[in-house]
């Protein structure tokens, strides 16, 4: 026989022993960490279960890599043995990371539609934990997706070294964290499913195109240059390309032809500064995402 549940027969005194678990700060923190882990785990389960998403997340970047890569190679030509495919490769990997992270974050819109968001929001847990879990989950699946893209490197003539792979994964994670928090913030403002496609088209595509992922940012008209410098992705993609190019055997002519650093007011930003800017963006988006979710219900 099962033991009688304690809640059953005994009349609990209000705010008595029943309330103690919520009071002990140690328990609270470990409970919140469990919540972060659980939200993260759910994100992974859903990612693994939706194979179509993994495949479609690969097809688009692959198309860009080969179609755009070959198409533009004819136009841009080869400089010192370096071609446009090699230039665009880091950008395309970044693109798959960004799209996966964004998609993962925007699944909150689905959760709202199908009610699961409510299950999360009514729970007696901190919304910081929910956003942290969501961010960690989105970042993980995005980094996994980006890492899968590494198998294409040899096909376009990019040499991978173990150090480069580690550097790339770290930068993918940072980029993904920033994009997931951004996505959660956007998703917290989207009330309707129909708006989702619009947001993807109107926000994600321009952000990608104006980030330097698919073509060099030099030689753009002034107003476009301003937009690219306001785009957080610009500062995430430049370091990514820098570490990839640093590991390649490129002639000085090729390096001059395909610059990687972001310039701001004529000043070339060091990689550390670019990364710091991404971190700041990620923190700001995290706070906005938290506030966005706090407003719901």
């Amino acid at each position: 026989m099962t033991t009688l549940s304690t809640t059953g027969s005994t009349a609990p005194t209000p705010a008595g022993p029943a309330a103690t678990p919520a009071v002990d700060p140690g328990t609270v923190i470990s409970d919140e960490i469990r919540v972060v882990g659980m939200v993260w785990e759910r994100e992974l389960i859903r990612y693994v279960r939706t194979r179509t998403r993994i495949v479609s997340g690969l097809i688009q970047p692959v198309l860009f890599l080969f179609v755009l890569g070959y198409g533009m190679s004819g136009l841009v030509g080869t400089t010192g043995g370096f071609n446009f495919r090699q230039f665009v490769y880091p950008g395309v990997v970044a693109m798959s990371v960004v799209m996966t992270a964004m998609f993962s974050a925007l699944s909150i819109v689905w959760d709202r539609e199908f009610g699961f968001l409510r299950e999360m929001l009514v729970a007696p847990v901190s919304r910081v934990s929910l956003v942290l879990g969501k961010t960690a989950g989105g970042a993980t699946v995005a980094a996994v997706q980006g890492t899968i893209m590494l198998v294409l490197a040899p096909l376009v003539g990019i040499h991978l070294t173990p150090v480069l792979v580690v550097q790339m994964i770290c930068l993918e994670l940072l980029m993904a964290v920033a994009m997931t928090t951004f996505g959660v913030f956007v998703a917290s403002r989207i009330q309707k499913m129909e708006s989702f496609q619009v947001v993807m088209q109107m926000l994600l595509m321009p952000m990608l195109f104006l980030s330097g992922a698919l073509f060099p940012l030099n030689g753009l008209p002034g107003w476009l240059t301003v937009i690219t410098r306001l785009n957080p992705l610009t500062y995430a993609i430049a370091p990514f390309r820098q570490v990839v190019f640093a590991a390649q055997d490129m002639s000085p002519a090729a390096r001059a032809r395909f610059p990687t650093n972001v310039t701001l007011f004529g000043y070339t930003l060091p990689i550390g500064m670019e990364l710091a800017i991404v971190v700041v963006f990620a923190l700001v988006f995290f706070v906005l995402a938290f506030r966005g979710l706090s407003k719901t219900e």
């Binding site: 705010a15 859903r46 279960r49 009610g115 409510r118």
Partner: protein
């Protein structure tokens, strides 16, 4: 006839235990619209308490305030001994919630949904698996534990949500229209689940419904209309308040039957095409009345006041089954009388 005004009724169940839910003057306004209009009631521990009313009556709004999802415009509510206004987190830890709309992740299995919930509600790590097994057993879904929720029928999903609501051993389980849109068999299964939860887990149950027939399963019912509680009592008392049971008969000789029944001590009246006896319990009275009539009885119609009669009595309208809307009596009178 007793006046079953809500405000005058305090919890009767057990005097020495504090009520599970205690509400005073609870009001919610949305702009000009008063969704809940100063209601008072208490729910005793271990009680099954139902809010019965048509769509738009304010049932969901009341549940939302009790579960701290909506802030009362005025009034006070204590749930599980905690104030919904000042101690929302404690309230949420001690209640289970099943919304009117589904809130499952259908890309996860039943078990994964439950595990997620267990973590959100701080079920101790060592108890999670046994608790999942227990609640799945309570709603008889143990064999579907590992299936994706997307393969579940509407009724199964609803029952899984009830199981999930019970996972963290809440003191009170709130169910907002748990049976709406389900077929009669599934509705019956859900009611079996609810009774089982009550008996085996000792949980207090607060539910809303617009199905008259279902409210009968509750120990006490509050009838709510336009945000006000218009009657509150046990189903039997409510029904008794609108009239007694009747047995109508048609016989071969009504005159003789009338005399015979009156001599046997029945209160009998001559009515259209026959006789009507007013009795305490129609079921038990049918046999004796037929025997006491002394002449051949052609037809017998026994009637006990239903909650439909109660709703009609207090509001002058009746709840239309399908949509849960209250329709005026006039509209009903114009239509043909059915069943």
């Amino acid at each position: 006839m007793t006046d079953v005004e809500a405000g005058k009724l305090q919890v009767g169940a057990s005097a020495n235990s504090s009520p599970a839910v205690d509400v005073k003057g609870l009001t919610k306004r949305y702009g000009d619209l008063t969704a809940v209009d100063g209601i008072d009631f208490s729910v005793g521990q271990g009680e099954v308490f139902a809010f019965l009313g048509p769509n738009g009556a304010g049932k969901s709004t009341t549940i939302k305030m009790l579960c701290t999802l909506a802030h009362p415009t005025s009034g006070r509510a204590m749930v599980a001994g905690f104030d919904v206004g000042s101690d929302a987190k404690s309230v949420r830890r001690h209640i289970g919630l099943v919304f009117q709309e589904q809130t499952l992740d259908d890309q996860l299995t039943a078990e994964e949904n439950l595990r997620f919930h267990a973590v959100l509600y701080g079920v101790p790590h060592g108890q999670v698996e046994s608790r999942i097994a227990r609640v799945m057993e309570l709603v008889a879904l143990s064999d579907r534990r590992k299936d994706l929720v997307s393969t579940y029928s509407g009724g199964m999903a609803r029952r899984l949500e009830i199981a999930r609501g019970m996972l963290h051993t809440p003191k009170i389980l709130f169910l907002d229209e748990p049976t709406v849109g389900l077929d009669p068999q599934t509705r019956a299964l859900i009611w079996e689940d609810i009774q089982r939860l009550r008996i085996e887990e000792g949980v207090t149950i607060f539910l809303t419904t617009h199905y008259m027939d279902e409210a009968e399963y509750a120990e006490r019912i509050a009838i709510i209309d336009y945000g006000r509680i218009i009657a509150l009592d046990t189903p039997d008392v409510l029904k008794a308040s609108v009239g007694t049971d009747t047995v109508a008969i048609e016989t071969s000789d009504d005159e003789a039957a009338l005399v015979a029944l009156q001599r046997a001590g029945y209160t009998v009246e001559r009515t259209e095409g026959g006789l009507t006896a007013f009795v305490a319990d129609e079921e038990a009275a049918v046999g004796p009345i037929v025997a006491a009539a002394g002449v051949p009885v052609r037809t017998v119609r026994a009637h006990r006041p239903t909650l439909d009669d109660v709703f009609l009595h207090y509001t002058g309208r009746e709840i239309r089954e399908q949509h849960g809307e209250a329709i005026p009596m006039m509209a009903r009178a114009r239509g043909a009388r059915r069943s």
